[in-house]
Symmetry: C2
DNA sequence: GTGTAAATGAGAAAGGTTTTCATTTATATT
DNA sequence: AATATAAATGAAAACCTTTCTCATTTACAC
């Protein structure tokens, strides 16, 4: 029951919030922009404002329900938070996104932050390239 | 002689271009936004349009004279290109930027891209944190 | 010096995201 | 079940960084 997820996050259970959650859970693509979510809802026949989609996604991010990717140049992309940190590979041709986890890199980042006297709060790593499909 | 740098890059030697180069070379902060450069020029008494600053920085990037950082949420930041690739640590309190090079991370990225069948074109890595000065 | 293509500045436009504000809705209280 | 109230919503305007347009100026080859 998704309503519980919302209540647990301290958010009122409203139709727009349930619908956005539903889209994120059922969409074929795991990584979606606000516009993607908005269009998916319209196609579903839902009446919702784009501003509400942005608001809800931002609230979900604050509540730890989704995480936001800040991709170079483009718009933000959101994905359901699954508790496991991972980084991303992005195809510059077809915009497909793949995920990866690399403990060696994670560890090196901690070491570097420590060496520089930084208390690390976050990091972002994107590898850009041409995916297998898009290589001529 | 900076004029040579411009000619070598196939760019006409114009006053705005020389001035932007001058700012980048003499500024106390190595990493500057277009707005930073623009304000520095105004304070210097130079007449220049913000659009020109953006244009010139983008041309410099194309010519390999500067590189552009795409920082989360904010504006782009530029720095003089020195030929050596490096990544960045950013203080979320004072916005100070530090640089680092880590061959282990570079190598792991290549391996990951290869494993996923990606022909890597670029990557961006930012470590966010609180710098030594900003830790209470 | 002249001619010509390129560069510039001002302001408009773009594009993604946030804000405003009047209206609607969820939830706690009768 | 009806009511009260604070929160959420939608539409449109505003925002903010960056790019574009176009008339004017400039650099550079001749
Ligand atoms: Mn992901
Ligand atoms: Mn740097
Ligand atoms: Zn692709
Ligand atoms: Zn700091």
């Amino acid at each position: 029951m998704e309503s519980q997820d919302l209540r647990k996050a301290g958010l009122k259970v409203t139709l727009p919030r349930l619908k956005v959650l539903e889209i994120l859970e059922s969409a074929q693509q795991r990584h979606m922009s606000a516009e993607d979510v908005y269009k998916a809802l319209l196609e579903m026949g839902e009446e919702i404002g784009l501003a509400t989609v942005y608001r809800v996604l931002t609230q979900f991010e604050g509540a730890g329900l989704v995480s936001r990717l800040s991709i170079e140049g483009g718009h933000a992309v959101f994905e359901l938070e699954d508790g496991t940190h991972h980084d991303h590979l992005l195809c510059v041709r077809c915009n497909q996104i793949e995920e990866f986890i690399d403990e060696v890199i994670e560890q090196r980042q901690r070491v570097i932050a420590a060496e520089k006297g930084f208390q690390m709060t976050d990091h972002s790593l994107y590898i850009y390239g041409i995916c297998r499909n898009c290589q001529s």
